[in-house]
């Protein structure tokens, strides 16, 4: 046994004994101390004592990295200088230089535009189709079969889904056998093949479509579950009063589903802003398909940590309000119970 292996075993042994011992020591020792304190102090201090480890972990692993990222976004990539200590074309840089880069450089602006496209169309279609399908399949006897079909893409990883669609979007020269399903289909009606992922009028739509394909099933399942909880008496009563099915959906079902739709919608918006894998696998941002997350990854891979941090902060700031909406919604639902 060489020295390295021995060292590892010693480290492991220390960890086996020392880490649980420290935790047990914290629990028993801490309680012992608290029990010997006056009653009033005991009551006050105990919750803090028990919450401290959880808060500590969250601080170390979440709050600290977040603050560090914010600090980093104002510094150079080597983390040795504040941005305003550097020179930009002979002038001192602004402290916001990394943000200025993000909001002025053509590549990053394209990614910003595309993320907005994703946010609008991906969310709208995923939630909208999810809602429509949930309502429609609720009225047929083969509901579970239809739902399985729509839900199937959800468990497929985004990378695998992208590869599947890479084959679907495949392009061969006009006049030869089209191996891509989509081009084979449009060939049947006599249309020339389209280079879906290269052509800049179709590529963003194609990518967003793949996103919708993977997300609609998720939206449908959540909305459908909430649909089942609408009491059939309410619907019966409406029918008795002479409402037609369209009016029922528009005036009763949809408003009752609204809280669920908001939650699903905000989740989809967050997904849209975080979109990475589909774009990375299918085009890697070529032909103006970059989104914010692929842009952030590229800055990281290029060792431009300051710029990557700035992109991360922008993304974070965009997502926080949505998370607040979501949390508030959950709290309202809790209160209603």
């Amino acid at each position: 046994m060489d020295q390295d292996t021995l060292n590892q075993i010693i480290t492991a042994a220390i960890a086996v004994v020392a880490v649980p011992a420290a935790l047990l020591g914290y629990i028993y020792g801490g309680e012992w101390v608290i029990e010997h304190l006056p009653d009033g102090v005991q009551k006050w201090i105990r919750p803090y004592f028990w919450a401290l480890p959880a808060v500590g972990f969250a601080t170390v692993f979440m709050v600290y990295p977040m603050l560090r990222t914010i600090v980093f976004s104002f510094r150079n990539s080597a983390d040795t200088e504040w941005m305003n200590g550097l020179s930009c074309n002979g002038q001192p840089c602004s402290i916001f230089q990394n943000y200025i880069y993000f909001f002025t450089f053509p590549d990053t602006l394209t990614s910003l535009r595309n993320s907005v496209l994703w946010l609008i169309f991906y969310t709208l279609f995923a939630v909208g189709l999810g809602l429509i399908i949930a309502i429609l399949v609720d009225r047929v006897h083969y509901e579970s079969l239809a739902k399985i079909a729509i839900f199937l893409p959800v468990p497929i990883s985004a990378v695998a889904a992208s590869i599947i669609w890479k084959f679907m979007f495949d392009y061969q020269p006009t006049g030869t056998t089209q191996t891509g399903t989509l081009n084979a289909v449009i060939g049947l009606v006599g249309h020339d093949p389209v280079a879906w992922l290269v052509n800049s009028t179709t590529n963003n739509a194609a990518l967003i479509f793949v996103g919708i394909w993977t997300a609609t099933g998720f939206c449908m399942v959540i909305i459908s579950a909430s649909l089942k909880s609408i009491s059939s008496e309410v619907l019966e009563a409406a029918r008795m009063d002479g409402a037609n099915e369209f009016q029922i959906v528009r005036l009763i079902v949809t408003p009752l589903l609204w809280p669920t739709i908001t939650v699903v919608g905000t989740t989809m918006i967050i997904n849209a802003l975080k979109t990475f894998d589909i774009v990375y696998v299918l085009t890697n941002g070529a032909y103006n398909t970059d989104v914010i997350a692929t842009q952030m990854f590229r800055q990281l891979a290029d060792a431009k940590y300051g710029r990557a941090a700035a992109v991360g902060v922008v993304l974070f700031v965009a997502i926080v309000p949505l998370m607040l909406v979501n949390i508030r919604r959950f709290q309202q639902q809790e209160e209603q119970r």
Binding site: R298, D302, K304
Partner: protein, 450 residues
């Protein structure tokens, strides 16, 4: 309360065990040190498949002859790991590829992390230099002194050149194209493919996942080094040559002649949608009334493996062959050619490491590479049975200036923008000026420390 403590105790224990697991996993990644300096040597390699087999065949006689045990670890991310190891002060392998980033290389040299080949080979160094293709051990003619692109820093060599590939070769189907190779770019473009029963002059495919565009960058490198020479080429890599300059622009324009709808099989959309490994397929596939989709494909010496992947029955030399890049019309630059090498460097100066370094460039070991049919050896005197590499060896021997692949030595953001620009230019050739202007913008940011 006691019950609660008991349950919490269990949870604490579970957490502790989890930590142990983490610690144990972390510990195991840092054991790569040099065991005994005279009887064992640790080597990292990024090779796999046939290349790894060939390398193992190189090591076998060494182990038998010397009794030294060689521990080979496959590591495809060795530069990053070694950089981390240097920063953390942990053990490094005895022998591993050195970084090809010139700035990082200078840093490693100044820290004494890698040892000069002169030290490793001792009195054998001069023989090594005279046996090796000059492009791999001497800076391009005209320039003297250091050349970090081939590992020469402070007058010392830091890369031990192991093997070699050549880029910018024009592959063709021997049953379709039967005439002598064109001498100049103009001659090449003047060839009428239909005369040979091929639909178009060129085939191309530049899709390569996240690295899409690189195959076209190889083609452009080969054009620019022959149009404008090694000085412009090196300045361009180093960020001192504007992308909007005439030299670079005319390179793009020449490249776009290849991928124009008139000259390329399937048109630009097909080029952009096709993976580089499949790009050569139309050379051997009928297209409509034509015997073949195209006449030529520009690619490096590794191309035959892609041909045989798609068409297992094809034989090198009888079914396909290649000719070297035609002149771009400036005879002073005709000796420039594009190659890429695999290097090894010595990190720990031990007797066993020195012996292995010497063995790897021994003519006998180099002949094993030459006979493996996967690559050229770095030794110019080896003999080849594979007709493709036999031909490639002639190209390498006739060239005077070996120039490295430009994108590989640019800062990563510059390189990525370069690759992407080729996709955009192929897609919309009329946007060339704005594409080049954008590259200037990237250049001015990429070469500054930020």
């Amino acid at each position: 309360m006691a019950n609660l403590y008991g349950r919490l105790g269990l949870k604490a224990l579970a957490l502790g065990l989890g930590t142990v697991f983490l610690v144990a996993c972390q510990g195991s990644s840092s054991s790569s040190g040099s065991p005994q300096g005279s009887t064992e040597v640790t080597v990292w390699t990024a090779w796999g498949g046939n290349e790894l087999t060939a390398f193992q065949n190189v090591l076998k006689p060494f182990e038998q002859k010397t009794g030294i045990k060689v521990h080979v670890t496959t590591n495809r991310d060795s530069t990053t790991q070694i950089a981390n190891g240097i920063a953390a002060g942990t053990d490094l392998p005895d022998i591993a590829p050195a970084t090809t980033d010139p700035i990082q290389l200078k840093d490693w040299v100044s820290k004494g992390v890698i040892k000069p080949v002169e030290t490793a080979l001792g009195s054998g160094f001069d023989t090594y230099v005279s046996n090796t293709y000059p492009g791999l051990v001497k800076p391009p003619s005209g320039s003297t002194g250091d050349d970090p692109f081939i590992g020469i820093i402070g007058g010392k060599h830091y890369y031990l050149m192991i093997k070699y590939q050549i880029k910018g070769l024009f592959w063709y189907n021997k049953k379709v194209f039967t005439d002598p190779a064109p001498k100049t770019w103009t001659d090449l473009l003047a060839i009428d493919p239909t005369k040979y029963g091929a639909q178009k002059l060129f085939c191309a495919g530049v899709e390569s996942g996240a690295a899409s565009g690189w195959p076209a960058s190889d083609d452009l490198d080969n054009i620019i080094m022959r149009q404008s020479g090694p000085d412009v080429y090196t300045k361009w890599i180093n960020g001192q040559q504007k992308w909007t300059s005439t030299e670079i622009k005319q390179g793009y324009q020449a490249l776009l002649q290849m991928t124009s709808g008139n000259n390329v099989y399937g048109g630009p959309n097909y080029v952009l949608s096709t993976n580089f490994a499949k790009a050569g397929d139309p050379l051997f596939k009928p297209a409509g009334n034509f015997k073949a989709g195209c006449l030529f494909l520009e690619q490096a010496t590794f191309q035959p493996s892609f041909f045989t992947q798609s068409f297992p029955d094809l034989k090198a030399g009888t079914d396909f062959d290649f000719f070297g890049h035609p002149s771009m019309g400036n005879s002073a630059n005709d000796g420039n050619y594009n190659g890429f090498y695999d290097n090894y460097a010595m990190y720990n100066d031990t007797p066993a490491a020195r012996q292995l370094m010497a063995w790897m460039v021994d003519p006998q070991a180099q002949q094993i590479w030459a006979s493996s049919g996967v690559s050229l050896s770095s030794n110019k005197n080896t003999t080849y049975t594979d007709p493709v590499f036999k031909n490639a060896a002639t190209v390498a021997a006739s060239g005077t200036n070996m120039l490295i692949t430009a994108g590989d030595y640019m800062p990563t953001d510059m390189r990525n923008a370069y690759w992407k620009s080729l996709l955009d230019a192929t897609n919309n050739p009329s946007n060339l000026d704005s594409i080049l202007k954008h590259l200037d913008q990237v250049q001015s940011a990429a070469y500054q420390a930020s």
